[in-house]
């Protein structure tokens, strides 16, 4: 079970594809201007990542290492086409907004990276878990970035969520700052700034955790080196 804990920790935090591996930055920077865009692309990427990881894991004994990369890309492209068609069928307007970035999921290095580095060497269950966790980690960062940019860029949260979740979500929009616009954060350069600050925040948190862990270690009494012969010394 510890292997799965490790996969969860790696995907969501320690080896997060967006904040640590810095893979898939193109969609990360381009589509995170609002929560709905970020969530839409995050879910599509999650689906592709899980599907490709499981398929690659299934065929790992049959593909020689010489042709593995073209084979993986073909598999990923097939799943991206599925995601593309699904979004076209069920969330057409969101599909129009995301545009070229849905087909471009093929080029997301995080997906090919996981296929080559993990799924091609591991059985199907760990591979699926890895895909799920990496996808969740990526989608999570997308959504955090999307909400930050939407909040401080146009002063709202969860605007137009009905494009993704249907009519239920039509009234979800929260206007935090009325009549507010900071165009810079909506535009791509703002995505760079926000991503940089998020990475810095993660590093600060890691630093704090590490320092606390060391302090706790230092507090623990060291074991006595004396060889004990009988009983305990009080």
């Amino acid at each position: 079970m510890s292997q799965f804990n490790e996969l969860v920790r790696n995907g969501l935090w320690a080896n997060n594809p967006a904040l640590v591996q810095l893979l898939g930055l193109c969609p990360l920077l381009a589509v995170t201007s609002s929560v709905v865009n970020a969530l839409g692309l995050g879910l599509a990427t999650l689906l592709v990542l899980m599907g490709s990881n499981m398929s690659v894991s299934l065929i790992r004994h049959h593909v020689t290492s010489n042709v593995r990369l073209p084979a993986f890309v073909m598999i990923i492209a097939a799943f991206v086409t599925c995601a593309d068609l699904l979004m076209q069928a069920y969330t057409f307007e969101l599909h129009q907004i995301l545009g070229i970035f849905i087909p471009l999921i093929v080029t997301n290095c995080a997906i090919l990276g996981r296929a080559d580095a993990f799924a091609s060497r591991n059985p199907i269950l760990p591979s699926a878990t890895d895909g799920l966790m990496m996808g969740l980690g990526f989608a999570g960062v997308l959504v955090v970035l999307g909400s930050l940019r939407e909040l401080f860029g146009q002063g709202t949260l969860f605007a137009d969520m009905d494009l993704l979740l249907g009519p239920v979500a039509a009234g979800w929009q929260i206007t935090v700052f009325p009549n507010y616009e900071f165009l810079f954060l909506i535009l791509p350069p703002g995505a760079f700034f926000a991503t940089g600050l998020l990475i810095a925040l993660k590093n600060v948190i890691d630093d704090r955790l590490e320092r606390r862990r060391r302090l706790r270690q230092a507090d623990q009494p060291r074991e006595s080196r004396r060889v004990r012969v009988t009983g305990t010394i009080r």
Binding site: L183, F184, L185, L187, P189, G190, F193, A200
Partner: protein, 359 residues
């Protein structure tokens, strides 16, 4: 003329960073005075507010970083960033615009990268570019040249009210205007340049004001050159590249392109060449590299001015060339005396060399 010089540029600087920056501030005075003389009190409120914000924010961030604010503030670099950003903004900007620009310049572009000497980008231009992208409307409202004391001039209380954000600049009649580059950018395609200028598209005296301001920056630049605080390489390369390209375009089609003089004196070219592009931290290091760097800035300015969406482009051009500085420095490293010239890049063995080998 030896372009390759082994000793590092700062070794020739006579004094400490604080003194250098103080001279730089002194050299901006003619430019600031002329700007204020033509465009009114708004220039001075901009500069004062920007420097005050810059020093305060620098002190705050230094405190957060656990450094001594007084020791670092005495290098005057925050003052310089504040002044350079302040003169770039449209006269009479309100405080929040200035504050956002200074936060981007001092906190993000300078201190987050490690403070003076570690910033890969020119801090003042990062602030300016961010504002230009984020707030296009207030950033393109340039004051009409009504002077400091003229009948239509914005009075000092009015300028302070603009700074406080109590007055909408559009409501003040005398405030609206455009820069010559901005006006020329929006010239209709069917109108010839000569007809366009004959129709007096700008408030009276605007062209004259911009020429005078450019010449005042040139005076300040001459002081920097005389004190050897900057080398001639970057300004000459930048202005030279701009003049050559403008002359070529003007020679081909004078009815739709501005003259070289218009491009050199009508915008921020002189100011940028002497005060922005020469920033010793973010510019190229070797003399040969500085020539490439300056020429690159000049080419990019002309490219963006003639084909881009923005009327003036010094900030974007300088930032883009800041990106290229590590590359330029890598390929223009001077030869150390007594050593071979460094070989750079991948050397591919040519095919004929192989066939000619004796077997």
């Amino acid at each position: 003329m030896s372009l390759m010089h082994a000793s590092a540029e700062p070794a020739r600087l006579p004094t400490s960073t604080g003194r250098v920056m103080a001279w730089l501030l002194l050299a901006t005075l003619p430019g600031i005075a002329t700007l204020a003389w033509y465009f009114g009190w708004g220039v001075l409120t901009n500069v004062l507010a920007a420097t005050a914000f810059a020093v305060a924010l620098e002190a705050l961030v230094l405190k957060l970083r656990g450094r001594s604010p007084t020791a670092t503030l005495s290098d005057n670099s925050a003052l310089v960033t504040g002044v350079l950003l302040g003169v770039s903004l449209p006269p009479g900007s309100s405080w929040w615009l200035i504050l956002v620009g200074v936060v981007a310049a001092i906190v993000i572009a300078k201190q987050l990268f490690g403070g003076l000497g570690h910033n890969p980008f020119n801090p003042a231009m990062v602030g300016y570019a961010l504002l230009l992208v984020a707030f296009p409307l207030p950033m393109t409202q340039w004051a009409a040249p009504h002077g400091l004391f003229g009948p239509e001039a914005t009075t000092l209380p009015d300028a302070l009210r603009l700074l406080a954000g109590l007055t909408d600049p559009l409501a003040l009649d005398g405030m609206s205007g455009a820069t010559p580059l901005d006006a020329f950018k929006h010239k209709p395609e069917a109108v010839m340049a000569s007809e366009f200028w004959a129709s007096s598209p700008l408030p009276e005296g605007t062209m004259n004001a911009w020429h005078s301001v450019s010449l005042a920056w040139l005076v300040g630049g001459a002081l920097l050159l005389y004190k050897r605080l900057i080398g001639w390489h970057i300004p000459v390369a930048m202005l030279g590249a701009m003049a050559v390209i403008a002359a070529l375009l003007y020679g081909v089609d004078p009815s739709h392109y501005g003259s070289p003089l218009f491009h050199l004196l009508g915008g921020a070219a002189i100011f940028g060449a002497f005060f922005i592009a020469t920033d010793p931290v973010s510019a190229a290091t070797s003399r040969k590299g500085k020539l490439y760097y300056g020429a690159g800035v000049g080419v990019l300015v002309m490219l963006i001015r003639t084909t881009g969406a923005y009327p003036d482009a010094v900030a974007f051009a300088v930032l883009l060339m800041n990106f290229a500085v590590p590359f330029i420095d890598y390929y223009t490293q001077p030869r150390t005396y007594g050593h071979h010239a460094p070989t750079r890049g991948i050397k591919v063995k040519r095919l004929e060399d192989e066939t000619e080998e004796p077997r």
